[in-house]
């Protein structure tokens, strides 16, 4: 079954963040809590909505990921770009820190 994580934007600075196992939000996709199945996904979204109410993040949603290559990658290209940064500016965004 496909694994999923939750992606959102941080309210204050707009940066992309992922819901972690501890209920916090990390800029690093490697820290994201992976869930499997509808129930786990809904439970995670509930946590995300609480964070929205708490004004930490905005617009959370579930995305599919793939860990088969050893590295955690979103399956959708758009989400990969969101995770790393613009493909045309490798010097900015999270990819620059790698």
């Amino acid at each position: 079954m496909a694994q999923q994580i939750i992606s959102a934007n941080r309210l204050g600075d707009g940066l992309v963040v992922y819901l972690t196992g501890g209920g916090g939000w990390s800029e690093r996709i490697a820290d994201a809590l992976a869930v499997t199945g509808k129930d786990a996904g809904e439970a995670a979204m509930t946590v995300a909505h609480t964070a929205e109410e708490a004004r930490l993040i905005v617009e959370p949603y579930l995305i599919d990921i793939d860990e088969s290559g050893g590295e955690r990658r979103p399956t959708q290209f758009r989400e990969l770009i969101r995770a790393k940064g613009p493909t045309v500016r490798l010097d900015i965004g999270k990819q620059a820190e790698l």
Binding site: L11, G12, G14, E59, G85, I92
Partner: protein
């Protein structure tokens, strides 16, 4: 250019403080995101793929050096050292923080700038011919009307909650450099038989998912009735435009549904009621605004400068730049210098802090401190002495701002696409770069001649692909980036919408397809025909055949 009076200045200052308080209340939990989102959009602040995005208004694309320096500073202090000039003559910052946006707006207010109405269902930035006030073929400066309309439309209480966004463009020349026929309202300056000035008013043009060419609502509107007639159009739209479906909410859809005749009848009926009321601008006020657009103090010079001619003979590279990037000026001895923001390997429309500061300095020294932004994502120095062009070019070269490709195949319009924009289905920028690289040879570019390639990363068509000679629309096919190719579009006075030539092609086949298209054109053209001429003569069949020939 227009300078704020105390009322204008207090408007933007108060707006900054209002937004500052709205941000404070949002962060403190006194406003929900649902409540806050329309408020931040009214100040041009979007939430995008990687971060917030702030769209700064540059009214009719006119900037002073002082303002450009402020934009450069904001890019450095509050962003990542660059900004993006857009297809509506605005500037976008891609990495502002919400917490710092009130400070950014305060910085902008210091130089008479703002981000008002660059988003939301309101009247957006009024765009105009980038050669306004300088072009040799101009009847009058369209920015006077643009400024009048800007003031009328800013915080207009009746039109702040339209069914959808509303875009107006103005041209002062029969040569349309403002794409007026694909705007919600397009205005063309003209004179009647007595020599009185007025406008042809075109309504219902647009791009996006249902591209349409606007229809003439009024062939000659006297100058003094500009605002009452626009008010009548907006009232009919505001009342009858659809609010149930955002994809059917533009004025072009309403006009199409009613039919042009019925639409115009309703506008005329409304106009009858308000025509001689206080809506129209008093003549004195029009003249007061017009005075801001008086020509700078030009020197009296010979029509053709000897130095300029000599440098072109002596320096081939300079001659090459002058050939594409220099346009004729109405004042003898002067010229219009275009700054291409489409360098090889660069990002179309992007400029760094350093480049913005360089342009500000060059403009200050050589162009009466005035700069223009074009809807094709380039910049213009509108008033340069021909004798100074060589110095201008040499300085531009130091900042990678002297690419001699204006109007050639590598002068590509590309929206930010999926590298930046949350609406996109595919990327635009790397495709523009790959096309530019394939056609990097300038001799080849000149042989191909004028060829406008326009790339949109989604159906919203911010890259204006419908009016590209070659248009590319990015689509998502089962997770892969594919591009639909259209041919024969044009945004000038002979406006046409591109025709889809066949099934969409995958990313790695697009550059080859472009090459097939240009080769087909070169093989079919007759003397003096540019790409568009040939396409209009032969139609899409030969292109379709070569592109999709059975293997």
């Amino acid at each position: 250019m227009y300078l704020y009076d105390p009322i204008d200045q207090s408007l933007v200052d108060q707006r900054v403080e209002q937004f500052r308080d709205q941000v404070r209340r949002r962060l403190a939990g006194e406003l929900s995101e649902d409540q806050f989102k329309p408020l931040r959009l009214m100040n041009g602040l979007y939430l995008q793929l990687h971060a917030y995005m702030l769209r700064v208004a540059i009214p009719y694309g006119t900037l002073s050096s002082h303002q450009m320096r402020k934009l450069a500073y904001i890019a450095q202090r509050y962003d990542k050292g660059y900004g993006h000039f857009t297809t509506r003559q605005n500037l976008q910052f891609n990495w502002p923080k919400l917490e710092e946006t009130p400070d950014i707006l305060a910085e902008l207010a210091e130089v008479e700038m703002h981000a008002l109405q660059t988003s939301g269902n309101c009247i957006r930035n009024i765009t105009a011919d980038q050669y306004a006030g300088a072009a040799a073929d101009e009847i009058a400066d369209p920015r006077i009307a643009a400024e009048v309309v800007r003031q009328w439309s800013t915080l207009h209480p009746e039109f702040s909650f339209l069914p959808r966004k509303f875009k107006i463009a103005v041209t002062g020349s029969q040569r349309d450099r403002a794409a007026v026929r694909v705007h919600d309202i397009g205005l063309i300056l003209k004179c009647d038989e007595t020599g009185s000035m007025g406008y042809e008013v075109i309504v219902g043009g647009g791009l996006g998912r249902t591209p349409m060419i606007g229809a003439t609502a009024r062939d000659f509107l006297p100058k003094r009735h500009l605002l009452s007639y626009l008010e009548a159009i907006l009232r009919v739209y505001n009342q009858a435009g659809r609010r149930d479906n955002m994809y059917k909410a533009r004025i072009k859809i309403l006009m199409h549904a009613l039919g042009a005749e019925e639409f115009i009848r309703r506008v005329d009926a409304e106009w009858d009621a308000i025509r001689d009321s206080a809506v129209d601008l008093p003549a004195g006020e029009y003249d007061r605004i017009a005075a801001f657009f008086a020509s700078p103090h030009f020197e009296t010079l010979l029509k053709n400068d000897g130095k300029f001619a000599r440098y072109r003979l002596e320096d081939r590279d300079f001659a090459q730049w002058a050939r594409t990037n220099v346009a004729p000026h109405k004042q003898p001895g002067y010229a219009i210098a275009n700054i291409s923001l489409k360098s090889e390997g660069g990002i179309p429309g992007d400029a760094t802090t350093e480049q913005m500061n360089a342009v500000a300095a060059i403009a200050e020294r050589f162009s009466f401190a005035e700069i223009r932004v074009t809807h094709e994502q380039n910049l213009v120095l509108p008033h340069v002495r021909q004798a100074d062009l060589y110095d201008v070019w040499q300085t531009l070269k130091n900042y990678d701002l002297a690419t001699p490709n204006l109007g050639l195949i590598s002068d590509i319009i590309a929206c930010p696409g999926m590298d930046y924009c949350s609406l996109a289905n595919a990327r635009s920028i790397p495709l523009a770069q790959d096309i530019g690289k394939r056609f990097a040879d300038l001799r080849r570019q000149h042989d191909i001649g004028e060829l406008k390639v326009k790339i949109s990363g989604c159906i919203n068509a911010c890259g204006h692909h419908h009016v590209g000679h070659i248009g590319l629309l990015g689509v998502d096919r089962k997770g892969e980036e594919y591009y639909q190719i259209t041919l024969g579009g044009s945004a000038d006075e002979n406006t046409s919408l591109g025709e889809i030539v066949g099934p969409a092609v995958p990313y790695d086949k697009v550059v080859g397809a472009i090459e097939t298209i240009t080769n087909t054109y070169v093989g079919l053209r007759t003397d003096g025909e540019n790409f568009l001429d040939t396409y209009r003569r032969v139609g899409k069949a030969p292109f379709k055949e070569n592109l999709y020939a059975a293997h």
